[in-house]
Assembly symmetry: C2
């Protein structure tokens, strides 16, 4: 009897799951970093804060901001208000095949986000950090390295490295 009931429940569950339009896609959309940070929709269409480049990792990057972040940066408003999000996109730096001495983005390396929520992320300066490689969140150990570095180096700029490039 127990077995039969379990089978019926399983069958009903399977039928329900199959009737959902895109169960897998929905699950993938909300994959969160250990900090709770997820990939914000449409981040690639955000405005630019500034490009940057890092020699030791041989990467070229660009930092984008959502509207709340851009407004704060342009008004030099510190600390950033809740809802501000910054995105960092990093690519391998590769030599342009078409122009000498010029470097362009190669393979994407990772995307990272800083999400401002002063209450929720109080222990890390009011910022939630999220790192994603190939769309998948990095592990807890990787995330534990974010805030200490921002804290040591850019405490006076609300823990944000990048300045607005006019």
């Amino acid at each position: 009897m127990r077995h039969l009931a379990a089978s019926i429940v399983a069958l009903l569950a399977a039928t329900w799951a199959l009737s959902l339009p895109f169960p897998a896609a929905t699950a993938a959309d909300i994959v969160a970093a250990p900090t709770g940070v997820t990939i914000p929709k449409g981040y690639r269409n955000w405005q630019v804060v500034a490009p940057s480049q890092r020699d030791d990792k041989d990467e070229i990057r660009m930092i984008l901001g959502n509207n709340i972040a851009m407004r704060a940066l342009r008004a030099k408003q510190l600390p950033f208000p809740d809802g501000a999000i910054l995105a960092k996109l990093a690519w391998k730096r590769v030599k342009s095949a078409e122009f000498d001495n010029t470097f362009v983005p190669g393979e994407p390396q990772r995307i990272e986000f800083m999400v401002k929520d002063a209450k929720r992320y109080a222990p890390t300066g009011g910022w939630g950090f999220g790192r994603f490689i190939d769309g998948k969140p990095a592990d807890e150990a990787a995330h534990a390295t974010c805030f200490p570095c921002h804290q040591v180096n850019v405490k006076n700029h609300d823990f944000v490295f990048t300045r607005y490039a006019p």
Copy 2:
């Protein structure tokens, strides 16, 4: 008599000019490069095509696109349709004071635009080129160098160097 008439005309012209709300600002707004290209309003808020970096000039750049250009790039539509505009912003590359091995934008060097109008700019691949330094257009000699270089190197990509960085 001639002198008097000239004086009256000059006086009337001066009075009229002074009565205009912002004559100087209006004139500055429409300063065009020798090609006719002007600085498009709001270009700093456009989406990013890609960052880039150039060693010989020690510059870091970013290339932005208006909506028509971004749509074409994402759809891999070549040639670009009329109305597409690309903007290149170049800064001196400076070492970050806050993080090792990292380079960020320093002094702005110039902004440049490519405006697609297949008919108007037919002799230069359908693109009008505009270079502005400190808000002022570069001279005709400087502009004469744009198209030949784009023509030699990126004819197969509708004369546009930058590719969309995802």
